[in-house]
């Protein structure tokens, strides 16, 4: 089931980005966000970044290192980190 979902993401690489866009937009109270915009420049602060991280954990079922949102605060980078965390998780599941 997980692998199928992953396949869907690969087929449509923007869907993950779209989901993160909607999380950001709700949190920052914005109508739209570009994938390369900076969370902090859009009005996010460190506490909101921590809350965003928790929402991403919950929504995607994987944990990405918090340094991603604090060091490279764009949707594109977050999506990349989520994909890579999913890959790692699948790999460890296959190995297990």
């Amino acid at each position: 089931m997980t692998i199928e979902m992953h396949a869907v993401d690969d087929a449509d690489p923007s869907s993950l980005e779209q989901e993160i866009v909607s999380i950001w937009a709700a949190m920052l109270e914005l109508d739209s966000v570009e994938v390369d915009e900076d969370f902090f420049e859009l009005g996010g602060d460190s506490l909101m970044a921590a809350e965003l991280q928790i929402q991403i954990d919950r929504r995607f079922g994987v944990e990405v290192p918090a340094s991603v949102i604090y060091r490279t605060p764009t949707i594109a980078q977050l999506a990349r980190a989520v994909r890579s965390a999913r890959c790692d998780e699948e790999r460890s599941r296959v190995q297990a």
């Binding site: 506490l47 921590a50 991280q53 290192p65 918090a66 340094s67 949102i69 604090y70």
Partner: protein, 408 residues
């Protein structure tokens, strides 16, 4: 006197105490313009009674728009979510679990760790060679914070580096590319990232340290938000690391050259009073900001509603209206109603822990070091907020007991 309270050079040279004295006498409420933000500024109060009033009266002077001068005009993102930036009643609810953790738990169970850690810090100074006492003391808070928050020992150096960026961002030693804002931003975000990861991990594997306690705490049936726990860890670490080291360094730097260290070390009855006097003398967090919630008149000066007011605790602690002969470091001073930990609802939540660590530190120092000689010029921190010494090179004379232990 035209010198500005915002001039960092004043603090580096140590001239701030003269300016405070002048203001207490001549201009107890002063409008201080911010050179970096034309048209903006703050009201500065420097007398003990006024500082106490501003800090106690949270109905008139709110903490919810930032309490640090470097946040002036920007607002505080932690407003209402982090202890220092919250007014009652939310403040009292947030404070409850921290208060409990920092009072009861800390005292008993940390003693062996703290004592062993203090001995390790002092040991390199017992060989009769030059020893940077200030550098050693920068590690002092982590000796208590590491077991208290259950932090991995290997993280200490990196945490001290990040904390210095947040606490002494005006000091070129810690700066990134010579840029104050960039330095603050880096230190701040890296610490937030650190605690975000740590707390996500602790949610899966609960621990019985302060973080575990905050995660388990319920107020009116509700858990604390993860962001408020992160924010409180951040401010606890910063609060302890930025302030505690400056208490022993200020005391030693002042007392050693006048024979006061040797005298205090020989008079064990004054351990507690002497520590209180060191707290008064050092007052590491030298000022805190509030905002007026209504217009206020102080000493005939009308302060409009919504104005920043900065209370200079460092100045209050040298107010001759309250302290007899305030320019004298008196290890026997009693009573000593200093404002080193602040006053009112925001009285330092870590005060018990700080006193506990200082007590162990001075016990261990007096047991192993008879006298101290300052052998190089003292270098002060460049900061308009934190009052402290960056470099204090000393030569210590070990006690007979320390010599016997070293020989054994």
């Amino acid at each position: 006197m035209t010198t500005s309270l915002t001039d960092v050079g004043l603090y580096t040279e140590g001239g701030h105490r003269d300016l405070w004295a002048w203001l207490r006498q001549n201009e107890p409420v002063r409008w201080e313009p911010l050179p970096s933000r034309p048209g903006e500024g703050f009201w500065a109060v420097t007398r003990y009674a006024d500082v106490e009033r501003v800090l106690r009266d949270s109905d008139t002077f709110t903490s919810e728009q930032g309490t640090l001068v470097n946040l002036l005009g920007k607002g505080d993102p932690a407003a209402g979510r982090q202890l220092a930036a919250t007014d009652p009643p939310q403040h009292d609810r947030l404070r409850l679990p921290l208060n409990e953790a920092l009072h009861t738990r800390a005292i008993g169970s940390l003693e062996p760790d703290v004592r062993a850690g203090v001995r390790r810090l002092l040991e390199p100074g017992l060989d009769g060679g030059p020893f940077d006492f200030a550098a050693a003391m920068r590690r002092l808070p982590m000796i208590a914070m590491t077991p208290l928050l259950g932090l991995p020992e290997g993280d200490t150096d990196e945490l001290i580096r990040l904390v210095s960026m947040c606490n002494a961002e005006e000091d070129p030693d810690h700066q990134i590319g010579g840029d104050v804002q960039e330095t603050l931003k880096h230190g701040h975000r890296e610490l937030f990232a650190y605690f975000t990861d740590l707390i996500r991990d602790r949610r899966r594997r609960p621990t019985d340290d302060v973080i575990g306690l905050m995660l388990a705490a319920r107020v009116d049936g509700e858990p604390f938000s993860v962001s408020s726990i992160i924010s409180n860890c951040y401010s606890m670490l910063l609060g302890a690391s930025g302030t505690l080291p400056h208490v022993p360094t200020a005391a030693v730097a002042h007392l050693a050259p006048i024979g006061g260290y040797r005298a205090w070390a020989a008079d064990r009855d004054q351990l507690g009073n002497g520590i209180e006097e060191a707290l008064r003398w050092a007052t590491p967090a030298s000022n805190f900001m509030r905002y007026t919630r209504r217009s206020v008149v102080m000493h005939g000066v009308s302060i409009p509603s919504g104005s920043p007011v900065v209370a200079y605790l460092g100045s209050a602690n040298f107010d001759p209206d309250v302290f007899v002969d305030p320019e004298r470091f008196d290890v026997a001073r009693s009573p000593n109603r200093h404002l080193g930990f602040g006053v009112g609802r925001h009285y330092c939540v870590g005060s018990h822990l700080a006193r506990f660590v200082l007590r162990i530190l001075f016990q261990e120092m007096f047991a192993s070091i008879d006298d101290v000689t300052v052998v190089e010029p003292v270098v002060r921190f460049q900061s308009t907020f934190l009052n402290g010494i960056k470099q204090l090179t000393v030569v210590a004379s070990p006690t007979d007991r320390a010599l016997r232990q070293a020989g054994a």
